[in-house]
Each structure stands twice: as C-alpha cells, then as structure tokens.
Amino acid sequence: MSKPSDLVQGTLDLLLLKILALQPMNGWAISQRLKQISGDILQVSDGSLYPALHKLEQEGWITAEWKQTENNRRAKFYSLTRLGRKQLESEAANWQRLSSAISHVVRLEEA
C-alpha cells in the first residue's frame, strides 16, 4: 500500500533528491512538480510522498526548514545536504547503469 505504485523500488528517493537538487521546496510543491515533470506516467500518491521525505530527512540526505511560501503561508521546505548530493550522484549513476543495461536487454530481444 505504502509502496509507490508503478515505481521501481528506490526510484522515488532518486526522483525526490533530483527535484530538491534544483531548489528547496515544500511537500506540496514537490507533489505538484512530480506530476508536472513526469506527466501521469509516474504516479506518486500524496500518502507515500511524506513518509519518503521523512525517511530521506532521517538519513541526513535532505534537511528541512520552516519558511514562508509565496502567498505568505508557513510551510516546511526541504533542501539537499552535502551528503544528499553525494547520494544523488551515486544513485543517479546506478540508475544510468541499470536502465542502460535493461534497455540493452530489451533491444536484444527485439532484434
């Protein structure tokens, strides 16, 4: 139930880290951004977003701060830590290897 549906295990972490690498954001904005950049292909329910964020925070990869939003509401903004940046690099590299390997295999079958 809590696992992001249709998402490869661990990819949500990567997505979140990547999104936060661009700029600090609050949870709501992150959910909007996720929808926006992936179209409707990657579905992340609101319910699984927050546990994932808190997990990243407890790992020390992202850190949170209370700030004002554009329309003057208090919200919790997450940003990447130095540790998180390293983690993003290694996970991104992993993903590259994995996806290229998989697409390689898939192409083999077609030929």
């Binding site: 139930m1 809590s2 609050n26 949870g27 709501w28 959910s31 329910s45 609101d46 319910g47 927050y50 546990p51 808190h54 997990k55 925070e57 407890q58 790992e59 020390g60 850190t63 209370w66 509401r73 208090r74 919200a75 919790k76 830590t81 540790l83």
Partner: protein, 901 residues
C-alpha cells in the same frame, strides 16, 4: 562516511526523542498545509468544499496510518515504545501496591544475599591483581608429593629467573613479616609489615611508584649492601602524612638504617588478598629480616621461603612455559638430588591459585555463593508464581488487547517490561542490602585479624559487584517474567472476554505452577539442611573441645631479630626470659612455643623417616606439622602427656635429640606398639636419629573443625627458633600479668618489643568462636530467608488454587460433600507437592552435606539428626501453609460459592 552520517542523524534522533511534542506538531502542520493546498485546488476545479476535503483526505489514503509510517521513519520506536510500556507498567503496578512491594522485597532479599556474597567471592577469587595487564602474571609453585603449592629457595629462584625464556621477568617475594620500624634512630621500634621482594619486582609488575623510584636490579645483587626501602601507599599516608620529602630520608628497620627511595602508588596495595605491606625491601637485605635461622637463605637450596610470580611474554602459551619449567625442575632433581628429589614445578594462573582445593577461603566462598543462589532461586520462583497469578487476573485485559489487534510479541514485551521494573527496583534495594552485608563483614575486621600486621578485609561494593548485581537483576527479570508473560498471552479470546478469570482447558498451566512449589520446597530444604549442618559442624567442633586449656593464659611474642640478636644472644634471651617470668608474681607456669594453637600462622612442616617402618618404594620420607616448644609447654597449655615424658631441662643442645609426638602420629606409624622409645630420622634415613620420648594428646591445631592430624614437637634447646611466643598461666585475670612481664623484659633489653600481647582466651573466642559464628549467622539467615520465602510462596500458590476452585467447591458442597472431603481434596494436592519437593530437597541436601563435609568438617557420614529435625519441621510448616486456605475453602457456603465471580 559513517561518522559524518551520524553528524546529521544523531541530532535528528535526539530531537525526535526529547522534543517529541514539537516534532509531532510540525508533522501535523506540514500535512495540514498539504491538505489545505489540495482542498484549494479542488475548489478551484469546481468541487464543493466538502467534496474537495474528502478528495484530499482520500489522496492521502489514511492520514493516521501515514503519520504512523512517518513516526516509524524516526527509528526511535523501540525506545518510545519501551518508555510507554514502562509508564504503563508503573501505573498498573501501582494499582496493586501490596503485590508489587512483596515482589520487590522478595527479589531484593535474593539479590542482596547474592551481591553480598559475590562481593566476598570477587575479592577472594575474581578481582585481578592491581597491576597493568594482570592476566599475564602467573604464579610458579614447587610441587612435592604432599604439597602442590610449595615455595622456592633463593638459589632456585635465581636459576628459574636466569634460565627461562617464556617470561618478561620472574619476581620473588617472601612472606609479609613483622619488622621493627622507627622513623628516628632514637625512638623505640614499632611493628610494621615488611615484605622482601626481588629487585625487578615493581618493574616486572609494571607498577610505577607515585614518588621516587622502584628498586634497581643492581640493588638486589650483593647481600646486605643496598639498604633501601619502598613504602606502601597507606603506610606513607598514615605514618608520614603523605609528606613528599620522605624520599631520601633514613629510617630504621630492625635496627639497620635504610634509605627511603620511593612510595608505591595508591592503586597498588600489594599482591595479596588480605595483607597490604607497609614496607618493601630488596631480597639481598635478608640478613636483617626474618629468614629461617637453621638455614642459609642465600645458599641453601632447600630454604624455600619465596613465592615466585612471572609475567608471561606475549605469544607464549601457558603450556610452553609449563614444559620449560618441568625441564628445569628435572635438572634440579638431577643436579641436587639431596634437596630436590621428587620435586617438580608448575605454573598457575591467578584464578587457578585462588581456586585451589586446599584453600579455605575458596571453599567458604563456594558454599556461600551456592546458598545465596539458592535463596535467589526461591525468590525468583516465588515472584514467577505471583506474576503468573497476576497474569491470570488480567486475562480479560489481555484478551481485549489481543482482540483489538495487539501482537503477541508486543504484549509479551509489555509484560516483560513490567517484570523488568520490578527487578530493577528489587535490584536497587538488593544492592542496599548487599552493601549492608559488606559493612557487616567489615565490622569484623578486628575479630578476624588479631595481629599487628596490616591486614584488611577486602570485601567492598565496587563497580564490579554493582554491575554483577545489575546483571543478576536483569537475569531474574527474565527468569521470573518470561514464563508468566508467555502463558498469559496464550489466552483463548472467546473465554477470555467472557470472564475475568478463567482457566484454559488442559493441565499444562497447573503443571508449571506445581513445579514452582516443588522447586521452592526443595531449595529451601537444601538451604535449611546446609545451615543446620553448618551450625552442627561448628557445635560438634566446640563440643569436642580443643584438647587443651585455653583460659587464664597470657600470650606475647618476641622476635630478637628485630634487635639484631645473633643465635647465641637469642638463646640466652629466651633462657633468661623463661627463668625470670617464672619468678614473677601471679605466674603459675610459663611456656615458649613457636606457634600458638589455632593461630593465624601456619605450623612448620618436618620431613622424617620412622625407624623400622617399611617405606613405600616410591617415597623418600613422610611429613608432618611440627612446633618448637620449651619444657614448660605441655604443663602450661594443659596438653596431657599420655605416655613417656615431656621435655626436660636436661634435653640440651648437647644431649641426644628427642621429640614428642601426638597420639594420632603414634597410632599412625606404630599402631600396635608403644611409640615411646622409637626413633625417627629427620629429612632422610642418613641423618641423626631423634628419639620419641613421649606421646601427647591430640589437640586442635588450626581449626576447631579439623580432623585429628599428625603432629610433632621439638625442644627449643635442640631446635632454635628466633620468633617465639611466651604463654603464661595465671591464677586470675591474665592481663594483670602484662606489667610484670614488661618489667622482666626491661631487665633483659629495654627496647625489645612485645608483639601481639593479649589474653589467649580472648584470641581463642574471637578466632574459634566468633569467626565461625559470623559464618553461621550468615548461613542461618540465608536459610531463614529461604524458608520464609518458600512458605509465603507456597501459601500464595495453594491459596490461589483454592480460590480459583471456589465455584467447584461450592458445587461439591451443594451436592453433599462434607467439609472433611473438601479439606482432603485441597490438602492432598498441597501434601503431594510438598512431598515431591521434600524428596528432591533431600537429594540436594545430601549432596550439599557431602560437599560441606569434604570441604569443612571432619564429621564423616550423614548427620541424621539434621534430617530428623529439618524434614518434619519443613513438612509441618508447608502443610500449615496448605491448611489455612483449605479450611477457608471448606467453610464457604454453597450459595456464596456459586455466585462467586
């Protein structure tokens, strides 16, 4: 990477833990913000506010579950759950304060007894040497047929030190001896405890003096050249008020000037369990101190007065060292057959040395700890029984929890947390009780050590004992918590919800409870048997008597070596002393003896060959304990001469050598003949013969509980000894003689110290009566505590069983059962359990009796009286514990019983 990681995570965890409310509030706010945004978005899309709200909540799929999930991410769950459990446990325990208090007290008694005796055991056995890397320090012993823990001579020490390769260093130390000490040359000497050690002693042990320096190795090479002394830490504090300028000062030891070169550190009270030396001197100064006057300390290979220790090289095994030592011992046998024949050598760890089977401390320690553990066992079973009953009373609560989804593991954890709280409270109180026991031991300091030398009781409540007690508390929490917790969470839900207190069908549950009763009865029977045996053993010893008259005796010791007397002067001193005190007013008779009976020092041993006795092929000689006495000894000490004569003034050094043996000795070697007139040869069959001129009654030599043992007396005139004890028989209070003895001594040498002057009867009462009485009190109180706990436990369990069967009993009575029938029904169960417990307890008690007999007492065989008294009384008590609830059950009116619950 990891430490850097912690830098981020630790503050987060701490925040989750200590600012829980704040963190929760932030979580709510964060989610609330999201929901509000979502609702606004919904409204913008044209939904009604209500619909928008509903959609937002649904998108979360379960707000509370998400929150739980997020809380799990904080990874402090195990701790917060534990704190919740603890809080809940305290609340639910405080609802039954009586039960909680009883459990705590029960555990406290068990743990207190154990931690008290453990502090004793720790000091006697487990506490490591107070040196760096203590586990590398081994003890070397010389072994013979009769003695596996003999000492080495100076020559042997040098050979071992120089010819072995397994050690970083081999050190030697003599016994701690009385030393005449004066800070200024002019003042009269006082007695202090001095120990001669080898020059490498501090260096090899790794002990750095806190002031000045330790010995240099060259300070131990020339006999009598380097008069240097290192002070013990306590002595420095008390005698010199911790004055740092003491280094370099000159003090007088036994009339010789010594230079203080250093002070041993606070952390090093010495290598012995009880004795803490005031002064350390190099072995090369032996001529100034007490060595065997019959031998040459530096030359005679059979003058074995040194304890050897060695620090093993890293990487060398004990076995390698042992092999090397064995070869060396064989070489000794080959090169010096006269003094080393049949003599081996062995190496032991500290633990092996302290647990040697001939060590009385170890024996007492084992017995006490066994008994204390038995008390703890009774306490734990008692508590387990109580918790079991409590679990049953909570059947409904637990069933409800299970019904609304609590996991069984989670519930067991909750129940275990409760018993943990109980055990911790019990442990803390127990430590207080243990502390009391240690203090109680300490208060016997002066009773146990009636000597001028620096001995101290080493028992204390230190971190080691505290940690052990704490571990014990946790262990007992597990022991008495697990079974009840498992059992009470195995509830049948349907029945559990229906009634507050139901039984599972089947007998399994009763079986566990019955086992508890049986275990309790058995353990307490064992405890009682042990304490009874202890009391009887000492009584037996006391009834048998010591074999000599211990009243109206004054004792005082002299050591002319303290005043630098030579052999001739010493002989003259004792001759004149005996002659003159005999004339002193109030003195009936006098005696000089090397050792007093039942004293703290060991008697010398003597090796001999009885003439006309067929020696076994494989042995060179026999050995026996011996004492050197003057001609007044047998009369003054009231030791009857059974045949022949005692010593006479005519038994001078020039006269033929004579000896007196005790009856045991005579029977041992000449069972069918008169020993008087027989001859023995000392050491080997080649030496001068000694004629046995008398047979004395066998007395108690070391302990009032000892078995009859061989003993031999030699006359002082033919066997000169330096340190002797003067015993005076008086017609009135012996202490009144002190003044006249002092006057006599002053006519001989005004500076001669009188050591350990006291009434022998006082000494005897302390040593032989008071000491055992302490041990007896301890064991008896353990027995009493064990029995009380067992009775309370038995009563509780039987009463509980009865109350549980109230309805059944009501039905029986309603159907026409008589009171007697009910009584019989309830009682028979109790009696069966007590019977089983008694049988097991008897077997265990018998085993303990064997152990105690073999260890402490001479009484062989079974002490029937102990069982005749203990068994029926325990049986009666436990039956009474079953009777009271049974009677109450039989008096219940059926109407009431049927309405019960």
């Amino acid at each position: 990477m990891r430490p850097q990681h912690w830098l981020y995570t630790i503050p987060l965890r701490l925040r989750s833990l200590f600012r829980r409310r704040r963190v929760e509030q932030e979580l709510n706010e964060e989610l609330q913000f999201h929901l509000e945004q979502k609702i606004e978005e919904g409204i913008a899309k044209g939904l009604s506010p209500k619909e928008a709200r509903y959609a937002a909540m649904r998108a979360m799929d379960g707000l509370e579950q998400r929150k739980e999930e997020i809380r799990d991410m904080r990874r402090i769950h195990w701790l917060t759950d534990f704190l919740d459990d603890a809080r809940f446990g305290i609340r639910s325990l405080s609802r039954t304060p009586g039960l909680a208090a009883f459990v705590v007290i029960t555990l406290a008694l068990g743990i207190g007894m154990t931690s008290g005796t453990f502090s004793m055991m720790d000091a006697l056995i487990f506490r490591p040497y107070p040196v760096p890397h203590p586990s590398g320090v081994m003890t070397l012993v010389s072994t013979t047929r009769d003695n596996n823990f003999d000492d080495f001579s100076y020559r042997e020490y040098l050979d071992i030190r120089d010819k072995t390769k397994s050690y970083e260093g081999v050190i030697a130390s003599a016994d701690m001896e009385a030393v005449g000490f004066s800070a200024e040359p002019a003042t009269a000497p006082r007695i202090r405890g001095g120990m001669m050690v080898s020059g490498n002693y501090f260096h090899v042990l790794g002990v750095e003096p806190q002031l000045g320096r330790g010995f240099r190795e060259d300070e131990d090479q020339v006999s009598g050249r380097d008069a240097v002394v290192v002070l013990g830490p306590d002595f420095w504090k008390h005698e010199f008020a911790s004055d740092p300028s003491v280094v370099g000062r000159t003090v007088r030891l036994n009339g010789t000037n010594f230079t203080v070169i250093g002070v041993a550190p606070e952390t090093f009270p010495g290598m012995m369990i009880f004795g803490h030396p005031d002064l350390y001197m190099p072995l090369a100064m032996a001529p100034v101190f007490s060595t065997n006057p019959q031998k040459n300390f530096f030359e005679d290979r059979d003058d074995r007065e040194l304890h050897l220790r060695a620090r093993l090289k890293p990487g060398t095994t004990l076995q390698q060292a042992q092999n090397e030592l064995a070869v060396l011992a064989q070489n000794f046998e080959r090169d010096y057959p006269k003094v080393s024949r049949g003599r081996g050598a062995a190496i032991h760890t500290q633990f092996e040395m302290r647990t040697r089977t001939d060590d009385v401390n170890w024996k007492f320690g084992v017995i006490f700890v066994t008994l204390a553990l038995a008390v703890l066992l009774v306490a734990c079973t008692n508590v387990a029984g109580l918790l079991l009953s409590r679990g049953r009373a909570r059947t409904r609560e637990i069933a409800v929890r299970l019904a609304i989804g609590a996991g069984r593991f989670r519930l067991v954890r909750l129940l275990l947390t409760e018993s943990l709280i109980l055990a911790c409270l019990g442990g803390l109180t127990g430590v207080v009780i243990g502390y009391g026991i240690v203090q109680w031991f300490q208060s016997f300091q002066n009773v146990i050590f009636m000597t001028d030398l620096p001995f101290a009781i080493p028992f204390r409540m230190d971190t080691r004992v505290l940690v052990a007690s704490l571990a014990l508390s946790l262990l007992s929490a597990l022991v008495c918590g697990v079974a009840p917790a498992l059992q009470s969470t195995r509830t049948d839900l349907v029945n559990g919800l229906k009634a507050a207190d139901v039984d599972m069908p089947g007998r399994k549950r009763l079986w566990g409870r019955n086992m508890l009763v049986v275990a309790q009865v058995a353990a307490s029977l064992m405890l009682l048997t042990a304490s009874f045996l202890m009391v009887r053993g000492f009584q037996h010893g006391a009834l048998e008597g010591t074999g000599f008259a211990n009243d109206h005796l004054l004792m005082t010791s002299f050591d002319p070596r303290l005043m630098q007397y030579n052999a001739v002067q010493t002989k003259q001193f004792y001759k004149l002393l005996a002659e003159r005190v005999r004339q002193a007013p109030g003195v009936q008779s006098e005696a000089l003896t090397q050792n007093i009976p039942l004293g703290d020092d060991y008697f010398d041993g003597v090796a001999f060959v009885p003439e006309g006795f067929q020696m076994p092929r494989d042995r060179e000689n026999f050995s026996s304990m011996m004492d050197t006495v003057n001609e007044g000894c047998f009369e003054t000490m009231g030791i009857p001469i059974l045949h022949g004569r005692g010593f006479l003034e005519s038994d001078t050094a020039e006269a033929p050598r004579v000896a007196v043996v005790n009856e045991q000795f005579a029977k041992h070697y000449w069972p069918r003949e008169d020993a008087v007139g027989k001859r023995i040869r000392l050491d080997s069959s080649a030496s001068t013969p000694v004629e046995i001129v008398g047979v004395a009654q066998t007395i108690k030599y070391h302990l009032t509980t000892e078995k009859p043992t061989d003993f031999l007396y030699m006359p002082l005139a033919q066997h000169p000894i330096a340190r002797m004890t003067l015993m005076l028989r008086s017609s009135s209070d012996p202490l009144q003689l002190v003044r006249s003895v002092k006057d006599v001594v002053r006519t001989l040498d005004s500076n001669m110290p009188m050591l350990e002057t006291m009434s022998y009867e006082d000494f005897y009462l302390n040593k032989a009566v008071e000491g055992p009485r302490i041990a007896m009190k301890l064991v008896a109180s353990m027995g009493a505590v064990g029995l009380l706990l067992a009775i309370a436990g038995l009563y509780g369990v039987v009463a509980y069983n009865v109350s549980r069967r109230t309805r059944e009993i009501g039905i029986r009575i309603a159907l026409g059962a008589l009171r007697g029938d009910v009584l019989r029904l309830v009682m028979s169960k109790g009696i069966l359990l007590v019977g089983m417990g008694t049988v097991i307890g008897l077997v265990m008690g018998f085993a303990v009796e064997q152990l105690m007999n073999s260890m402490l007492f001479n009484a062989g065989g079974v002490d029937i009286l102990a069982y005749v008294i203990v068994v029926p009384s325990l049986f009666l008590v436990t039956i009474a514990a079953a009777y009271v609830p049974a009677r109450r059950a039989s008096r219940i009116a059926p109407t009431q019983a049927l309405r019960y619950e």
